[in-house]
């Protein structure tokens, strides 16, 4: 697990985003055990208090759960996991649409380019 964080967004928010991406990618499976807060801090080279904050937030959002003294796990709630993926896709599309609209490119032209570029990258 490698992640590069920027200096202007709260690190805990970036950690949550990172987890969501891993979930969407399928790197984390439903019910999978996740690193302890200390392990995570060490891996991502962040403050353990920040790791703690990210876990607390994710727990509140239902993304992870903890039973007793056992290690925390990714939720088994399929609907929620599906929603995480959809949310990330929508975010990416939003950003994309915003930047092509700002240079007045018609949709038809964009769609063709998107398809070509996507296929090109798949081959690489």
């Amino acid at each position: 697990m490698e992640a590069k964080f920027n200096n202007r967004d709260p690190v805990y928010v970036q950690v949550i985003q990172h987890f969501k991406e891993q979930i969407a990618k399928g790197y984390f499976e439903p019910g999978q055990e996740i690193p302890s807060r200390r392990e995570l801090a060490n891996k991502l080279k962040i403050n353990p208090n920040t790791a703690q904050r990210a876990y607390k937030e994710m727990e509140e959002q239902g993304l992870i759960f903890t039973e007793g003294n056992l290690p925390s796990r990714i939720t088994k709630d399929d609907k929620l996991l599906k929603r995480v993926r959809e949310e990330l896709i929508l975010e990416a599309v939003d950003t994309f649409v915003h930047s092509v609209r700002s240079i007045n490119v018609p949709l038809s032209e964009v769609l063709g380019l998107v398809k070509d570029q996507y296929e090109k990258e798949m081959k690489e």
Binding site: R8, D9, K45, I46, N47
Partner: protein, 229 residues
């Protein structure tokens, strides 16, 4: 918690600290930031009562520092204080003789972590490795608070990364840490609180995540505002 309250200090006629106040919590990393000569080291020495202060007060967990406090708080200066002729293992013995809270297990663990050899003589170590031994000796004490003066200064990038890694590990555990630095880059993500100092006063004290969350600013953004604005 370490509370520094309105501390003043003069060297001759020069006011070095002009009413410095800030707090450092246990379980958090507090970073004193400022260019050379603004009084960072003097503040550390004042907390340790290594230099007398002219006004204000400093409390550690609500108490003034006394002899017994030195088992609870330790200061790692920016240069090693062990005699250079000692081997690393001699330095261990020296520390064990002087401090009840010396933790040999942790010292061994840190030795491995930093890939140091206890049979090496301190005088023969590289600058980076000397800095690591210096840090190791302080970190191996079972104290609640650790003060580190410029732990990243003048050493290579890989040693810096290795030292930064200590902060995210169990080796710091839930202790309170105060470090001074003039280069924040390596450790922006590691610290809980920044205290910006200039010319013997605290210009701003803030929680780094709060500033990112509420103002969308990095520590360096805030520094630019405070020092140049």
């Amino acid at each position: 918690m370490i509370e520094v309250k309105n501390v003043t200090k003069k060297f001759g006629r020069k006011n070095v600290l002009k009413g410095v106040s800030f707090t450092a919590e246990k379980g958090e990393i507090t970073c004193l930031i400022g260019i050379n000569g603004v009084g960072k080291t003097t503040i550390m020495k004042a907390i340790m009562a290594l230099t007398p202060i002219d006004g204000g007060e400093i409390l550690i967990d609500g108490e003034k520092i006394r002899k017994e406090s030195y088992e609870k708080i330790t200061f790692i200066p920016d240069t090693i204080t062990m005699p250079p002729s000692m081997k690393i293992k001699d330095a261990f013995l020296f520390m064990a003789d002087f401090y009840g809270g010396w933790n040999q297990l942790r010292a061994n663990e840190l030795l491995q972590f930093f890939r140091l050899n206890e049979n090496d003589r301190i005088s023969e170590l590289s600058k980076g490795n000397t800095a690591k031994v210096n840090l190791l000796l302080g970190l191996s004490l079972d104290v609640d608070y650790i003060l580190m003066d410029e732990p990243f200064s003048g050493i290579d990038i890989f040693s810096r990364e290795q030292i930064a890694e200590v902060f995210t590990s169990h080796l710091i555990e839930d202790r309170g840490v105060i470090i001074t630095t003039h280069e924040i880059n390596d450790i922006e993500h590691l610290i809980d609180k920044a205290v910006l100092i200039d010319n013997g006063v605290v210009l701003r004290e803030f929680n780094t995540e709060e500033v990112r969350e509420q103002e969308g600013k990095s520590v360096i953004d805030v520094m630019r505002e405070v020092y140049k604005g």
